[in-house]
């Protein structure tokens, strides 16, 4: 069985991002980039399926300019077998990503597609769902456990009220939540070996997908800075302020 994982290049989770001065976007100049943490969980899950003998091949896909090959290499160092980059400089929205992934799925015919539930930069939480709809596949989002047996995936989902378990017919789309697994470190020998693993480069044109965005980013601005607090003199003063200034109690 073949597992396809999608990985996104995002600003490293430890980096404090800033808005550009002109408000057109986030300033990614000289910012350390990394694989999106939820995508890393997706790679880890796929690699574990391979290690347990359930999957034979793990293919890592990323979409973007040449630099996203770094995140594919990281996936290969973590244990994926080969990579596919869909090369484009376009500013892509979830729908375009989903269409491109659908086209890759048509070529690759994976039995399971694992994605992060969302990326930590744009926080859309749409790509997996859109992909499942476009491809006409079952979907199990926010997965905290995935068990494969008899052509089905039993996916435990983290939902508001607790845990929900779905039985999906394969092929299916699964998106990962934080507690699905704890990704390993890529060892130095595996980082070096990853350089020799195959990576194909495709283009949106080859895949026949129009990636033009239907959305326009209006403005990016930093959150309002928190102003200094005060130390209240008494409980009465605190209650008074909560009631009359903050108006959070009545």
């Amino acid at each position: 069985m073949k597992v396809l994982v999608a990985v996104k290049r995002v600003a490293d989770a430890n980096v404090k991002v800033r808005a550009k001065a002109d408000g057109t976007d986030v300033d990614l100049n000289n910012v350390k980039m990394a694989i999106n943490p939820f995508c890393e969980i997706a790679v880890e899950e796929a690699v574990r399926l391979k290690e347990s003998g359930v999957a034979e091949e793990v293919v890592a896909v990323s979409i973007g300019d040449k630099s996203c090959q770094e995140q594919i290499r990281t996936s290969l160092a973590l244990g994926a077998d080969r990579g596919i980059q869909v090369e484009t400089d376009a500013n892509l929205q979830p729908l375009a990503i989903a269409k491109l992934l659908k086209a890759v799925i048509d070529r690759e015919s994976p039995d399971l597609i694992i994605l992060g539930k969302q990326s930590i930069d744009s926080d859309n939480n749409q790509t997996g769902q859109m992909l499942a709809a476009l491809a006409g596949l079952a979907q199990g989002t926010f997965a905290s456990e995935v068990v494969l047996e008899d052509g089905h995936a039993r996916v435990t989902r983290e939902v508001d009220g607790g845990l929900q378990t779905l039985n999906l017919k394969l092929p299916a789309v699964v998106t990962t939540d934080l507690r699905l697994n704890e990704p390993r470190y890529a060892s130095l020998p595996n980082i070096m070996k990853a350089k020799k693993k195959p990576m194909d480069v495709l283009t949106p044109e080859e895949l026949g997908v129009d990636v033009a965005s239907k959305l326009t980013m209006v403005k990016v601005e930093p959150p309002a800075e928190r102003s200094a607090g005060i130390i209240v003199e008494s409980v009465e003063q605190l209650v008074d302020k909560l009631k009359n200034e903050a108006k959070v109690i009545s």
Binding site: K16, A34, E70, A77, Y185, A186, S187, L188, P189, M192
Partner: protein, 390 residues
Amino acid sequence: MALDFDSARLPNPNLTSDHEAWRTQLRRFVDAEIVPFAEEWDEAGHIPIELWPKAADVGLLGMGYPEEYGGIMDGIDSWHSWIVNEELARVGVGGVAASLMVHGIGLPPVINWGTEQMKAEVAPPVLAGIRHIALGITEPGGGSDVAQLQTIALRDGDEYVVNGSKTFITGGMRANWVSTAVRTGGPGAGGVSMLLIPTHLDGFSRTQLDRKQGWWASDTATLYFDNVRVPAANLIGVENRGFNVIMTNFNSERMGMASAMEALGRVCLEEAVVWARDRNTFGKRLADHQVIRHKIAQMKQRLNATQAYIRACYEAVEAGTANPGDIALLKVQASETMEFCAREAMQVLGGMGYMRGNRVERIYREVRVNAIGGGSEEIMRDLATRQYGL
């Protein structure tokens, strides 16, 4: 923030995306497996033995050693080493890095000069982190004057009979083997040999050197040899040519120490800047007082110079043109920079820095071990002038 640990690193065109991938993964490892416990280990005076196999799994121990012994050499260069030294220094607990990576000085004599049988026996378990090796050079009677060492190994049939003592031996308490400098011949450098001494042999004993100024987490030891009978096959390299083995070893040790010291200085800069931005005195931020701004600038200036010097030396190492004199003076440059940064950061942090439990306080008391160990500043300057033909 342009003055944090990463942004205060000068650009280095030698670093590729592979190097950055290694830094990323190593930092994940360090942040998960070392950083949360480092202070506790330092206070406790030792590191849990389980850390070594974990470090082996991520490739830390095997880096730069042959694949046949479980290492990785293909594509590995000095820049990978620099990254290791930086990332372990970032923890700000020198004893952890020194003890965890002590095979970096203990094993190379075996790998570079030892017999095939010796390598096959020692290297795989050391690189897997399940057995340990240390380097034994310094003696209670003298350290820097290596040529005058007094631990005697007398040949008796198929064995050497070893008598003497070694001290300040990092990793000495847990070592299964010690690559030991012994006197097999006459006085001076020409009578020195390297001998691989297993620590389970009769007549070997050791005591922990506790209550050190720094490197608390390191199991530094004094070793005693009382008629220890070591198989003659454990000779590393040629008899009475051990001095050369020792000197070769020192160059890479000094490069490692220098790059770690610069990174420790950079940690001091980072901590000083965070505090200076946060702390208000006399109605403004510490960072807005000229006297503090100048401290920060002077720290960065010296760190920049040291980084550029490290890069020049590593480039020479890569090109096979390294000059031991330049490396010796780099070590001095780095320890002076570390000392300056630790001092200035401590002045910026004030009373808070003086309290235990922060990186600057720990680094401050680890200045001297770096300025003395691996070749003292005085010996380094002397060595350099001799190398330069003065």
